[in-house]
Symmetry: C2
């Protein structure tokens, strides 16, 4: 399973409704979780969720622009002041690592835990592979090098052959559970072996999470087998046409048409220009996307939580991220 908690959904500048970009990614493999981008104020947003900086395994930064990384030093400093000792991976472009170095040197920042850099542009596949979670990077097109991340989560389940068990005369109950857990059991004088009735099945789900990007078609391969694409839709096509190609962002239309073409079943749009600050503006974006795309479509708000279950079904959780008491 994969849980996505949006911590910031605004492009460029924070607004009173939306912070700049950050997304928390949790998996069932332990309590560890990941951050994708860390705009200024991400640590403040986290204070309104149950996510703990102690259990943060890695921070991934898609590109060097400030609205995606200026929250990094403060978040690390606060983790240090909270007594974090566990090493942390920083999956980021090299200039972000250089900036962190400069920040340590210039601002008297001494972290009580190790941060190691993984170059997001290294081409290594995957960049992260641990506890059933694999993270890969996919080059995008923006004013600076930018990457999308693919997150693959494998869930292993032991499935019992219920028909065979019933044929063997064993009624559903505690002995089924024992067989599922790998124990051989004795039943009416016979030995029933787990290996004869239980088979291991691996299920894999994939989410693709874009950074800033002017050419969504670059994600065609990454979206193969993905159940959800999270991508920027900074503005409508009309506004993009007016802004010209300089900013190198995507329109809702472009992203939705791509999602339709590659048949990704769920699309979550984010990174909205501050011009879409009200319901009317968001409706413009949604209507444009819906005109292109027939799958599950959402426009993310700060603190929205989405769960991708082991069967690859995406659900938006009711309400916002659970608040700390």
């Amino acid at each position: 399973m994969l849980t996505l908690t949006f911590l910031g959904t605004s492009s460029g500048v924070p607004t009173r409704q939306r912070n700049v970009t950050s997304l928390a990614v949790q998996t069932v493999a332990g309590h560890d979780w990941f951050l994708v981008d860390v705009g200024e104020g991400t640590q403040h947003q986290l204070q309104h969720t149950r996510l703990s900086l102690h259990e943060l395994a890695a921070i991934c930064i898609t590109h060097v622009h400030g609205d995606h990384c200026y929250g990094l030093p403060g978040l690390l400093a606060s983790a240090g002041m909270a007594g974090r000792k566990k090493p942390l991976k920083l999956i980021a472009p090299l200039p972000v690592w250089d900036w962190l170095d400069a920040t340590r040197a210039c601002t008297d920042l001494h972290l009580p835990f190790e941060v190691t850099h993984v170059d997001i542009a290294s081409g290594a596949t995957p960049l992260w592979d641990a506890a059933g979670v694999r993270i890969g990077a996919h080059a995008l097109s923006h004013r600076v090098p930018s990457h999308a991340l693919s997150v693959d989560v494998e869930t292993r389940r032991i499935k019992l052959d219920a028909d065979a068990l019933r044929a063997a005369g064993l009624p559903a109950g505690p002995l089924w559970k024992a067989l599922q857990e790998g124990q051989d059991v004795s039943f009416e004088g016979r030995m029933l072996r787990s290996a004869d009735f239980a088979t291991q099945q691996a299920q894999q789900v994939r989410a693709v999470i874009g950074g800033d990007n002017a050419d969504v078609s670059l994600l065609a391969e990454a979206c193969h087998g993905a159940q959800v694409l999270v991508h920027e839709a900074t503005y409508t096509q009309a506004v993009l046409d007016k802004a010209g190609p300089g900013p190198m962002h995507s329109s809702a239309k472009q992203v939705a048409a791509f999602a339709q073409a590659v048949a990704v079943p769920n699309l979550v749009l984010t990174h909205f220009s501050a011009r879409y600050h009200n319901a009317e503006g968001l409706m413009e974006l949604e209507t444009e996307a819906r005109s292109q795309y027939s799958g599950g479509l959402w426009l993310a708000n700060d603190f929205d939580v989405f769960e991708l279950d082991a069967d690859g079904v995406l659900n938006k959780k009711q309400g916002k991220a659970e608040q700390k008491k």
Copy 2:
């Protein structure tokens, strides 16, 4: 007149009630205003006030610690995206300037306005002198070089000699206003000259705003003639004794005893440890300060606004900083 708007009053880390340090200083001399410190999230806090980044004249940073400066890059970037062209002064330690340089180089930050550095440690007096406002720096004692700022505001008023005017037979009315504005007036066949009835008076007020500091007595000279001292009181004396001298902060007791000794008439405490997150904790700090000090005493909250009028009287404005519609 001098208006102080507290934008962050927490020490080290943000809490759900208090952001890290920042204070806006406004004077009546035009719309220009100043920031003293710019912790992460300061631009977010400003969105809940009427203060505009277009009219920000200077940013003063007392020392390099992140909870006092990590909001700088994002605030400058947002000012740029909002179309600011007016040059800005950065009155800060040299390493903050170096950090801003590194930030520009590493994160593709291109500001459409000029930022010029004034070294807060240069010893120049004053560091800023314009439009009736003078800013000076005063060295403090902390783990890194830290400075307090003194802000002097001069207000010039033209005062009429009402007794002399009445003796001359001129009743209060439009002619009084003309005389006050420097015009000579004709009254019952006589010429009354403004210079004979109007005199210019200059009134000066001073606020002293500390950075992080373990030795408040260093501000004895700066507080001479000041109407208000804003200073950190990170914890109570008991907690300071337990923490030991390492952190190099002040207790409420130390600061209040100093304010009493130098007879500064108003004291605003700020920069509270996150341990004082509730009313009970704040009451501890206040009780300790009150036991030492008989002047006007306040513990600042985020969005508290204080006005120091031209006569040197400090008032806390009712309610919080006026919100944008």
